[in-house]
């Protein structure tokens, strides 16, 4: 086909109003969070001693780290949804939640005797953690991938992966209210693993649905 002919086609296609990706991502995250909140409230349930646990720093730290992940990954998603942003700058944002988690981990290691570490790390219910976080993250992931379809990422796979991590952060935030394993050692292993699973799923789907 002649390039001049192609230009005729493109011009005939007419204008299209600008899309505000940051607003859409915000909406998708909010909607996803709502589905996770509903699932938590009606299907999974918060832990019985929620009100007491609120005064325990290790319990609170789970929410802080998850929230930091959500904030950092939202920013990264917005950056990576553009064709002209390099991946390295966006991925450096992960230092925020990882740094906070490392701090909590150091505090925990100082507080707990070495002999009990493996017990804290294994917790009581890591399988439930690995299943429930992805379950809570499905809604956010679907909503995010849906709104990101109109974006123009340099790497669809990477954007999908980061969207998966963001969804995982939302899932982890709500799961933290149910989970009775509060040790940062447990969080560092099992929450991280659950979020990495979601990032992989996001990358796999993103590669297909976010390609353009």
């Amino acid at each position: 086909m002649k390039t001049d002919d192609l230009i005729k086609l493109l011009v005939a296609d007419g204008p299209r109003p600008t899309v505000d990706t940051s607003r859409n991502v915000l909406w998708a995250s909010a909607l996803g969070a709502l589905t996770a909140a509903v699932l938590l409230t009606f299907a999974i349930g918060a832990r019985g001693d929620f009100k007491v646990a609120m005064y325990e720093w290790r319990f609170v730290a789970k929410f802080v780290v998850a929230a930091a992940l959500v904030v950092a990954m939202s920013r990264a998603v917005l950056m990576l949804s553009r064709p002209d942003v390099t991946a390295r700058r966006a991925l450096m944002l992960v230092a925020l939640p990882v740094g906070l988690l490392a701090l909590a981990l150091v505090g925990e290691m100082a507080a707990q005797p070495l002999a009990t570490w493996s017990e804290w790390a294994m917790g009581t219910n890591f399988l439930v953690c690995l299943v429930t976080i992805p379950m809570l993250a499905v809604g956010p992931l679907v909503a995010l991938l849906w709104v990101l379809r109109s974006s123009a990422p340099q790497s669809p796979q990477l954007l999908g992966g980061v969207a998966g991590a963001l969804a995982g952060g939302i899932g982890a935030f709500f799961y933290a209210a149910h989970c009775t394993d509060d040790s940062p050692m447990f969080v560092a292993i099992w929450y991280t693993l659950a979020i990495l699973i979601l990032a992989s799923i996001g990358a796999l789907i993103g590669r297909r649905v976010l390609a353009w």
Binding site: M1, T3, L10, D13, S151
Partner: protein, 172 residues
Amino acid sequence: MRAAHSGDEVAYKRLLTDLTPFLRGLAREGFRRSGVGTDEVEDVVQETLIAVHLKRHTWDPTQPLVPWVRAIARNKLIDTLRRRGRRAQVPIEDFEDILPAEVSQSEGAGMDAAVMLKALPEKQREIVKAITMDGQSAHEVASKFGMTDVAVRVTLHRALKKLADTYRGERS
């Protein structure tokens, strides 16, 4: 581009026409550096134009347009080189001083139009033909086929997406 967002077809056409030599220069330089023949230059140019068009709504009007277009061109170039089995390493900075390339006699045409059109459903094909070959506007096409303007645009838009897929997938 700003004018194009508000529906100024003349301005949009001028923008795309002006971008073309620039894109051609980028593509030619990219192929040259990777040591492959330049026979697919026009395909990359066209694929980039379609991508710029289909993603025009994501361009942030407060940002400069050229880096955005250049990034898209670079991505499409790398995709093409990858499909050809080359290790594509095209640093974006390298593109900054490239001069636009004028079209030579044998260029200005990409994949065989007949092959590309064959991939489209009949209605889409007819509309594409009417616009490219007969130079009709969407409005004229609408009255010719007894369709509404909106229906023509919707069909045309689908055709463009399909063409973008053709560039991406069926050229290996």
